[in-house]
């Protein structure tokens, strides 16, 4: 037992696994689920994508009135989370909320609201299949470092770091599912467990609960920098949103 812990610590000391060792989340899905993820006619996540595309055009100062058709959003999800000019780290949800409150003069949708999930899914879907490429230098560097520290820190009553599951044991089974590399490229994703579309932060809260650590609120700075670190880890791997997960 002590030896295994030492080995895990040694692995962690080597830093995060290189991107070449990481496999896209779809590789860890069952063949049935993977086929369903690829088929919009059988993927319930598309119900939200469709709603998001309608929201894109709704209202006098709609998203469309500035950005044009939603097709212009191709590739955007590969670059988020990103640091805004004022120094705040924004993920796609945060960017949309900021657009809404500052440009459109409307009330924020609220994290995990159906409207925000729909719009995020519709925007992210336009980057489906494109390789992740978030900026990790300049203003983003300290956030990446913060995210790395969070990822590597042992947490909760089970005293586990993210990598002990998602690097050391990826591909093995845990509670009836297969452990993935935990890249988050499929979020917002439809989880069969939730019966609905949900954000990455909702999934991260489930991870926190899993190791009996404190569940941070949706949109918490710790989760945001972790999201950036995960996106940096996933560099070059395809966006899968909206994903389909167990």
């Amino acid at each position: 037992m002590i030896r295994r812990a030492a080995a895990a610590a040694a692995l962690l000391a080597c830093g995060v696994a290189a991107a070449s060792e990481l496999r896209p989340a779809r590789d860890f899905l069952s063949p049935e689920l993977r086929a369903q993820q690829d088929d919009p006619s059988r993927h319930p996540g598309w119900l939200w994508v469709e709603e998001g595309e309608a929201l894109w055009q709704r209202g006098e100062r709609s998203c469309q009135s500035c950005h044009g058709g939603i097709a212009t959003m191709a590739g955007v999800a590969t670059r988020y989370p990103a640091v805004a000019p004022d120094g705040a780290l924004l993920n796609l949800e945060g960017r949309i909320e900021r657009c809404r409150t500052q440009q459109q003069g409307a009330a924020a949708f609220g994290y995990e609201s159906d409207a925000l999930l729909s719009l995020t899914a519709a925007v992210a879907q336009r980057s489906r299949g494109l390789p992740m490429s978030v900026a990790t230098d300049g203003a983003a560097a300290p956030f990446v470092e913060e995210g790395r520290r969070f990822y590597e820190a042992r947490q909760g009553q089970l005293n586990l770091a993210c990598g002990q599951c998602h690097d050391d044991n990826a591909g093995r089974r845990l509670r009836g599912d297969v452990i993935s590399n935990g890249l988050g490229t499929g979020y917002p994703a439809y989880r069969l467990d939730w019966n609905t579309l949900g954000s990455l932060h909702r999934r991260l809260r489930a991870c926190s609960l899993g190791v009996r650590a404190t569940q941070l609120p949706l949109g918490a700075p710790e989760y945001l920098s972790l999201e950036l670190f995960l996106a940096a880890r996933a560099a070059g791997l395809p966006v899968e949103a909206p994903g389909l997960r167990r």
């Binding site: 059988r42 319930p44 598309w46 119900l47 709603e51 069969l192 019966n195 609905t196």
Partner: protein, 108 residues
């Protein structure tokens, strides 16, 4: 019709007469099972309990859905392309609401 359900109906745009076509129906609905247990606020059942599909004036599919069926149910079935004209999908919800959608198929 308050709060209309969103349905994604996928079928080929056109088919030859006599061809077997696959129709996929994905519906957004919470399929609320009843809640009735000590300590919980009781909630009446609210599911889509019946789905009917009518094609060329004839009922081709009728499904009785139970509360054991997941939210956002997905149903796939096949039928024979016989005639131009709308394929009508109808869902009955607990409480008496009926939702209706139409899809078109061109038969050559």
């Amino acid at each position: 019709m308050a709060n209309p359900i969103i349905a994604r109906i996928t079928l080929p745009e056109r088919a030859r007469r006599g061809e077997i076509i696959t129709i996929r129906v994905l519906v957004r609905h919470p399929m609320e099972r009843a809640i009735d247990a000590p300590g919980l606020t009781p909630l009446p059942r609210k599911i889509l309990h019946t789905m009917r599909v009518t094609y060329a004036g004839e009922e081709v599919v009728r499904a009785d859905l139970s509360q054991g069926i997941t939210a956002n149910p997905y149903i796939e079935f096949t039928t024979v392309a016989v005639d131009n004209g709308p394929i009508v999908f109808e869902w009955d919800e607990d409480g008496g609401t009926t939702y209706r959608r139409e899809a078109r198929l061109v038969v050559t």
